[in-house]
């Protein structure tokens, strides 16, 4: 049972000219898996360390279950953290690494042994209990680090990029283990990553961070489908969303965005009252939402490169009148560089952004 509330949490490091974390507000519900996602240096680790109590809070409030814990030291917060470097104690065997946190908390000896045994069995570590960390592989160390957190049965779990030191195949399987773990423990978890696949697959909700601020919070698919800004739109998705400058044309229900020598029909998807006065916008659409059409009418582009990935084909093209875009096309597409292609995007897959602020222009509620 733990609800973690961050209320305008800020962190300013000594001698830094701007805050590393700025007014981050966020509530993680009991049992929720919250992912903090953002590029390197955006303040994810700092935020997590403030929650852990390893970093002092410059301003704002941090509460666990309604109780403000700003001044509570890390050791009394009943939070476990899995570090990016695993941080296993090199002078202790795996068994002692797992038991270290329980010893401190005055758990009885037989119970410690039992819990260590159970967790080791659950994570497949039983054979390794008497090894030192240096005699373990990367994946095994990672599991010991997980085990050390689980065995304590804390109120809140924190993960700081726990998979970033694993190779690709191990990363995928460990990701699924963590998802399973969350379902089994039903504990509140905050998970930091810069990997959008981890974020999409693990998170109940994602909090996208940018430059120390929250860019958007929501369930993974909602953040993917309704990005609140150009930054979020381009950070999630691979290849990222195409963003091109466009001008709005037409009135009311017959609005279209002019780009690439043609119009993308908006079909009433946006609220005309919220449009910028000069009608210049940034138009966004995901590579997978583009279907190829005849280049005779409508928006056009010239093919620059074709990447055959087997399951699909990624076409890079230059929009007529400027602007690089990517199109995710069926694998049987035959296209040559220099060839013109026509583009069609359904109205509900079009996104409009304010060119000045990068913020999304809201759609009409449908």
């Amino acid at each position: 049972m733990a609800v973690v509330t961050l209320d305008r949490l800020s962190k300013r490091y000594e001698r830094a000219h701007k805050p590393a974390v700025e007014e981050v507000s966020l509530t993680v519900a009991d049992g929720e898996f919250m992912v903090l996602l953002g590029p390197s240096g955006c303040g994810k680790t700092t935020t997590l360390r403030m929650v852990a109590g390893l970093e002092s809070i410059s301003s704002g409030k941090l509460a666990i279950d309604e109780r403000v814990v700003n001044a509570v030291p890390a050791k009394d917060r009943d939070i476990a953290m899995v570090f990016q470097s695993y941080a296993l104690y090199p002078h202790m065997r795996v068994r002692e690494n797992l038991a270290f946190g329980l010893r401190r908390r005055g758990v009885a000896r037989p119970e410690i042994d039992q819990r260590v045994k159970d967790v080791a069995a659950a994570l497949g570590l039983s054979e390794l209990l008497d090894r030192r960390p240096h005699a373990l592989s990367g994946g095994q160390r990672q599991r010991v680090a997980l085990g050390r957190a689980i065995v304590r049965d804390p109120k809140v779990f924190l993960f700081d990029e726990p998979l970033s030191n694993l190779d690709a195949s191990l990363r995928a399987s460990t990701r699924q283990e963590i998802a399973k773990l969350h379902r089994r423990l039903e504990a509140t978890m905050i998970y930091v990553t810069h990997d959008q696949i981890e974020a999409m697959t693990l998170g109940d909700r994602i909090c996208v961070m940018h430059d120390g601020k929250v860019a958007q919070i929501g369930p993974p698919l909602e953040v993917y489908r309704r990005p609140a800004s150009v930054f979020v739109a381009r950070f999630l998705g691979s290849p990222p969303m195409n963003i091109v400058p466009a001008r709005l044309d037409g009135t009311e229900d017959r609005l279209s965005a002019l780009a690439g020598g043609g119009g993308f029909g908006l079909d009433g998807a946006v609220d005309p009252a919220r449009l910028p006065a000069d009608r210049a916008v940034l138009l966004g659409f995901r590579p997978e939402d583009v279907s190829l059409a005849s280049p005779e009418s409508g928006p056009r582009a010239i093919v620059q490169a074709v990447e055959l990935l087997g399951a699909e084909t990624i076409v890079s093209a230059t929009l007529e009148g400027g602007g690089e875009i990517a199109v995710r096309a069926p694998r049987d597409l035959v296209a040559q560089p220099g060839e013109p292609i026509g583009l069609a995007v359904p109205p509900q897959a079009l996104h409009l952004f304010d060119p000045a602020t990068g913020a999304a222009i809201p759609r009409r509620a449908s």
Binding site: K75, Y89, P90, R104, R148
Partner: protein, 272 residues
């Protein structure tokens, strides 16, 4: 070809061993001979061997007192040095506080002063505090002169321990004090062993401070005791050698006990 290289290497090593161990073997031989025998022939073998010189030195020449004084003073100093030095090094390496580096270099810079510069002042200070000619006074001086180097060696090692380990221990519920004893100190054990050996050997053989700050027969340490066999006209060379052999035993024991840790410390990289 291979044989030639091996022989050359063997020869070089033998020469070096003879060079390094020669004086030691010579002193060991002399420790079993009387001064009269030594004056007759400096390099003769100890035949007959006078083993009775050892009990003689120990019982009638007051060696038991010197030895236990030395043991008491040096062990206390090394213990204090190890604990205080490790704690200071831990703080310098781990905590960010104002003047951290300034203090660190201030302490470290004191090693540039040769003892001759400070010894008169030290003498006066000890007299003022009633510590002159006491074992406690000498312990305090020994701690003071060896602390900078101890902190320096340990700080370098502590600074290489990843800070995530400390953070993990904090998350595991440990206080800063407990983290020092249960995480930092055990991980730094190879470096600690290095400083223990270094301090022990240096202080066990220390002469200058002891001769200036100790006069009472009951407080003398081993190096001073050996000096007693050097009279104005006459030197009892045989007994000096015997005294040296007794004095060297603890050094060998300490080294043998800690050297495995010492090698670990020197090959470092123990933490990753």
């Amino acid at each position: 070809m291979e044989v030639l290289r091996r022989s050359a290497l063997l020869l070089a090593l033998s020469l070096y061993t003879a060079f390094a161990a020669g004086p030691f073997v010579w002193a060991a031989m002399m420790s079993l001979r009387t001064t009269t025998e030594i004056t007759r022939d400096h390099f003769a073998l100890p035949i007959p061997a006078h083993f009775e010189k050892f009990p003689l030195a120990w019982f009638s020449s007051n060696y038991s007192v010197y030895f236990s004084n030395s043991a008491m003073i040096v062990l206390s100093a090394v213990l204090i040095l190890t604990i205080v030095g490790a704690m200071a090094a831990h703080c310098f390496a781990r905590y960010r506080f104002r003047l951290n580096r300034v203090l660190y270099f201030l302490i470290f810079s004191t090693i540039i002063f040769p003892p001759q510069i400070t010894i008169i002042a030290l003498f006066q200070i000890l007299v003022q505090y009633g510590l002159y000619d006491t074992k406690a006074g000498l312990v305090a001086v020994y701690v003071a002169i060896q602390l900078p180097l101890t902190i320096y060696i340990l700080e370098t090692f502590f600074a290489r321990i990843p800070s995530d380990l400390f953070d993990a221990a904090r998350m595991d519920g440990y206080s800063e004090w407990a983290i020092f004893w249960r995480v930092s100190f055990p991980i730094a054990l190879p470096a600690v062993a290095t400083t223990v050996i270094l301090n022990f050997i240096l202080l066990w053989n220390e002469f200058l401070y002891a001769v200036v700050l100790i006069t009472d027969e009951a407080n003398r340490t081993l190096p001073l005791g050996i000096q007693r066999f050097m009279g104005d006209q006459l030197e009892d060379t045989g007994m000096i050698a015997t005294g040296l052999m007794i004095a060297i035993v603890p050094v060998i024991l300490v080294y043998a006990f800690f050297s495995e840790k010492l090698i670990q410390g020197m090959t470092a990289g123990a933490v990753k």
